[in-house]
Amino acid sequence: MKRYAIPLGIFAILLVFLGVGLRLKPQEVPSPFIGKPAPAFTLTRLDAADRTFSPQEMRGKVWLFNVWASWCTSCRAEHPVLVDFAKQATVPIVGLNYMDTRDEGGRWLDKFGNPYALSVFDADGKVGTDYGVYGVPETFVIDRQGKIRLKLTGPVTPEIIQKTLLPLIRELSHA
């Protein structure tokens, strides 16, 4: 019996390592931005090339910054969730239309609904790069002081809204 103890023990340890490894999500890269001020920018609005927006205008508000594009298929899946969320009108969502064209971006919103207070137009992806965007859609929660408090990579789901976003937004709004 005793001679099996050591191989069995090693096997158990291996199993634990494998189990932990399977649960890791390497595609979720920890963002270096959490707790840091949201990078400043000035971009034109998607719907009006002559009007600009910069995040400083949102000072004093809790808001969501959502990176999307008309070419992005997971954004399509995420979109109805955002439209629903916008109807509850908890906090404004600002969209970053990422590496898209004004035409296609605009048409996409016309077709599927527009959950955004406004979208800004980042044709060459420079602002996206400043926010460390690597997989659209991405969503940032920004607090009243203009600091990034949370970053989500991938589509927002109703579950994420209930379990993560709403509690955090409630907490930040009272802070």
Partner: protein, 137 residues
């Protein structure tokens, strides 16, 4: 961006020899920097190797920065600021990565320790066997 490209083209047209060597040097530096950076969409490729849209864009970004006179260190720092240590193929040595850097050496030492302990135990066994044999005689 487009203006700069046009200016570069113009320079290249006016002074072909010079522009070519400068370009080759820049290419070389871009290559060196992007080989150190992980493409975040296709995580097992470097930015230099990847043809993903993001990688191509970041390659342009690095080239832009270097062409403007940034050092290679600055270009790498620019990426780390945005994407975290994860973009580095050579993770920095710090408390969180000690296990990663020194773990294998630790395992090696542990293995060697075990090996020597075994060898010594065997040696003692053989010696005691030998003395056992001597007894009856």
């Amino acid at each position: 961006m487009r203006d700069r490209a046009a200016a570069l083209l113009l320079c290249a047209a006016l002074a072909p020899g010079h522009a070519q060597t400068a370009d080759a040097a820049l290419d070389h530096r871009v290559q060196r920097v992007t080989e150190e950076l992980r493409c975040l969409v296709c995580q097992n490729q470097t930015i230099a190797d990847s043809h993903a849209e993001l990688a191509v864009m970041l390659k342009h970004q690095v080239r832009d920065m270097l062409a403007r006179g940034a050092t290679e260190r600055e270009a790498v720092d620019f990426m780390v600021q945005r994407y975290g240590d994860f973009v580095l193929y050579r993770p920095p040595v710090k408390a969180a990565t000690w296990l990663l850097w020194f773990g294998p050496f630790g395992l090696l030492l542990a293995g060697l320790g075990l090996l020597f302990a075994r060898l010594r135990a065997r040696q003692l066994d053989i010696e005691s066997d030998a003395s056992d044999e001597e007894l009856p005689a």
